[in-house]
Subunit: 558 residues, 2 copies
């Protein structure tokens, strides 16, 4: 089993295969926007490529595009306040599905090696567009530049490659053919030739989110694609451009390699058209990242498809004790500030014992911890250039409203109010600092649902044991992608570990340095476990890919 | 990663791992009831062990057994007409679930190696009970002795081992721990220790069927068990004994190895109690083999669980031409007769062109094919000892009624009527020969739903192309586990191959010897593809095991 593109990218694939097995640090794509890696002119070229899209129609040559004005839609609003004005083709979803199904025949025949090779080439080409995509991500999501570059481009590509590697592992395990030779005692053997074909389940739809339009899209996109399926990318209405650039590149690489480019299409659709798309009988998988309402609707209504859903959760941290108080506060301050808390992995609830915590700097009361964390956040954000780079801008009006409500004190006592910052480069940018609220464990209505955005609660809990129990209950019932514990006591860490094994959430222990609870590294960290209500799947594991294809065999005597 | 029982059975596991990758012939358990393999006294001992159960209470020491008479239930009716009279414990399903959940903690701690080793030991112990289990299967299902031995014992054990092998492949791929060392340019690396724990999703329920109480139960049972889950076996009300013997042995092996035996329990339950069991929030997987009504109910109502369902289908064969006419007829006659067509893989519809078929023996008209197949079946069954051994007995009253209806001619012209045979050894046995019906392709109401039992249709189709198209449509809409083609023309075989790639069904080509379309060999043949309505899962592949556990990680700086 091979293919020229598989051989071209063999080292990348081998690296990824080794990385998913050893789960040590590895990356195929440089996370630093380095001219050495990306080329001296890459930064300027990418910016210009991005700017060239603005105010224009983004042609994709897809089937079923509606006639006239109905055939184009735009309307993305940049959180940075710049005018985007890109228009995208609007295509009949039936035409996209039919074209995808037709294209699947040739894609199946390409075999696992061909598909994997072509996916590796696609990722390589997307990597070369990292600056262009980073600008598109930044300007549609409000991420700061460095995050937009890293999470939007190389890290997203790594997550895509990770999915390709898992898919390759499962597909390459299936032999193309075998001879089955069953002894029959003194009689001649029964001998059969058997062939095994990998066939994709059907059309996959990947529903993107407004905050991470590539990082949360590439895993499902590449998992479905590399296992033989057509893919229709349905981007968030406010983060279309990164998806459109991605789809255009994929279509180009497919066409160059003799594959019908309609295998992968962009479907810019309103809610009603999206619902028709995702409930179509030909759609066999749906990857979704977003809120519980639509996510649950997908799970309830798209019974013809397997739904891989990442939904809301209540990420939380238990603070029991520490011997690195200031580093802990700095670490938390960064976590709460990064992209204004608009990550699905950002901690929302921090549980602190009512009696306070022991630190190397003496005992700290609950109120002191609140005040010190507030100070750490405001201190960290005191330099405007740091604040603007880390916070980015607020992606949605809903999040701005939630911040306002939290600032009003209705959800808890305001320890640190959210303030608006000016961004000289983008005067219309919606920049907000994090808000910290204090509340009691009993105020479950306040902290026990996702408050997406820079809104966190420092929850006063009777003691550490109660905090661990509360964390477990929240995660089991409301879900979480991340949990954290700070403690100097092995028995406390053990208790929290046991709790997270029951509630099935990834645990970060005593993070005080340059790793943050809201960071998840491809190949090493499982993003979501698939075992609590925040997500029914993980990036990435065998379960994320194995059910996207079937094996169809045929056998005959020889 | 190891465990004494893993080392004890290492050769078996290695053999299975090699077999699932190469998919050649292999078996861990001798399918011949040979005294050399099983011991000189094994046949007598097994028969006595089976007989010792009759008329007795089958104690299992499970929690939650109801008090007094309510705590025991029996009522199995042997298709062979013998008195069984075994009574089984009736336990509150809540108690079984709670006990299973409690037992999962220790089972998780045993690790993948421990779980796999213990599962291998269980299979070995079940293998040693092959005669006892074969008698239990024979007398509860009506299978003939040889099938009951092979399918009920070694082949079922092979299917169980296959699931264990796939589960081991996925679990052993997950490293227990790693060191993540990320370079930071001139600064010290970021170094983290990470641990990865495999945790079962939750309690698994395996719902058995009345015809293959071990072969169709062991894959889900061992897939769920070996991946860290508790398992509650809910047998068919008429085939409890094989499941009860299995569960007792599993519990004994678990206890011997320090695992709480309540990890695996038997739940003899009526429909209402079963519905409460399978919809319980703690139940996270359900394996089911059976009819569409309850299967669809499970899929619709057990939304908290992953449902692996094998349902009804319309298996079919296209006859275009052959150069081995008599061997083809003999092969089909055996297929239609084996266990009175009560296999989920038995062909129900045989498509023959209206213009007849070319054979090495000259052209045969549609009517000649009908008559010759009828003659082949009746000829094959003309020796009573062959007929009784192959046909076994009819498992359910519903199947007897279906045979009667078909015999009346309401479903199509009777080419070969079903007759009742006397079984001197079992005078009350319900033995019926297959019925063959002729009908036109337009009579879809007749042949296009599953008519479980020895009822087959020879369907007159315009031509081969129409037959292939009809086969594809049936499989895509009604499902099938098996399809067959007889043709001497490569282009016809190619067309059928393409059709089965679209409809996602396993294809057998020109079977004229000692392999039959309704046979599926563990490690080599995928049983079901998971891609058409007859089954949403396959025995066995990565998808069958990968979603039964999650990986929970923890990480900290070193």
């Amino acid at each position: 089993m091979s293919h020229p593109l598989l051989e071209k990218h063999r080292a990348t694939l081998d690296g990824a295969m080794n990385a998913i097995q050893t789960r040590g640090y590895w990356s195929a794509y440089n996370e630093m926007p380095s001219p050495k890696t990306y080329g001296e002119s890459a930064a300027d070229d990418g910016k210009q490529a991005f700017e060239a899209h603005l105010g224009k129609a983004f042609a994709l040559e897809q089937p079923g595009q509606l006639a006239g004005d109905a055939g184009w839609v735009g309307g993305e609003q940049s959180p940075y306040g710049i005018d985007l004005g890109v228009r995208y083709p609007v295509c009949d979803h039936e035409a996209l599905i039919a074209a995808g199904q037709a294209a699947m025949v040739g894609w199946q025949k390409a075999g696992a090696a061909g598909r994997t090779g072509i996916c590796l080439e696609i990722l390589d080409r997307l990597n070369k567009q990292s600056f262009e995509i980073a600008h598109a991500v930044m300007m549609t999501t409000g991420q700061g530049w460095m995050m937009a570059f890293q999470a939007g481009a190389p890290h997203a590509q790594d997550r895509g490659l990770e999915a390709v590697a898992y898919a390759w592992r499962e597909q390459s395990f299936v032999p193309a053919e075998t001879v089955w030779d069953k002894p029959q005692g003194k009689n001649p053997s029964l001998v059969m030739k058997k062939h095994f074909e990998i066939v994709g389940h059907g059309v996959g739809v990947v529903v993107g989110c407004g905050t991470f339009p590539t990082w949360n899209t590439y895993p499902g996109l590449f998992a479905a694609l590399s296992t033989g399926n057509a893919v229709i990318v349905k981007p968030h209405s406010n983060a279309i451009l990164p998806a459109a650039i991605t789809v255009r590149t994929i279509r180009a690489v497919l066409a160059e390699n003799g594959i019908d480019p309609n295998l992968v299409t962009l479907c810019v659709a309103d809610r009603s058209a999206t619902q028709k798309l995702v409930t179509h009988p030909a759609v066999k998988s749906i990857d979704f990242t977003g809120g519980n309402v639509f996510g649950q609707w997908l799970i309830d209504h798209c019974r013809q498809a397997r739904v891989y859903a990442e939904l809301a959760g209540v990420n939380n941290i238990v603070i029991d004790s520490t011997e690195a108080y200031k580093p802990m506060l700095r670490n938390l301050a960064f976590t709460l500030s990064l992209y204004s808390g608009q990550m699905c992995t950002t901690s929302q609830a921090i549980f602190v014992p009512a009696g306070g915590i022991d630190t190397e700097d003496g005992h700290k009361s609950y109120d002191e911890v609140c005040a010190d964390l507030a100070k750490a956040v405001s201190g960290f954000l005191s330099k405007p250039e740091v604040a603007l780079a880390v916070l980015g801008a607020v992606q949605s009006a809903d999040t701005l409203k939630r911040i306002e409500m939290a600032n009003s004190g209705t959800l808890g006592r305001v320890i640190l109010a959210s303030t608006a910052l000016d961004n000289p480069e983008f005067p219309k940018a919606a920049v907000r600092t994090p808000i910290l609220l204090a509340c009691d464990a009993a105020d479950e209505h306040a902290y026990m649902e996702e408050r997406f955005g820079p809104i966190s609660f420092i929850v006063k809990v009777a003691d550490t044991a109660a905090a661990i129990a509360l964390s477990e209950r929240i995660i089991a019932t409301h879900g979480a992608l991340t949990a954290g514990i700070y403690s100097t006591k092995p028995e406390v860490i053990d208790a929290m570990t046991s709790a997270t094994l029951r509630s099935k959430v990834a645990l970060s222990i005593n993070l005080t340095g340059g790793v943050f609870v809201n960071q998840s590294a491809a190949y090493s960290d499982y993003h979501g476990t698939g075992g609590n209500p925040a997500a029914n799947a993980s990036y990435a594991d065998a379960a994320f890919v194995a059910n996207r294809f079937v094996v169809v065999q045929r056998r005959y005597h020889v």
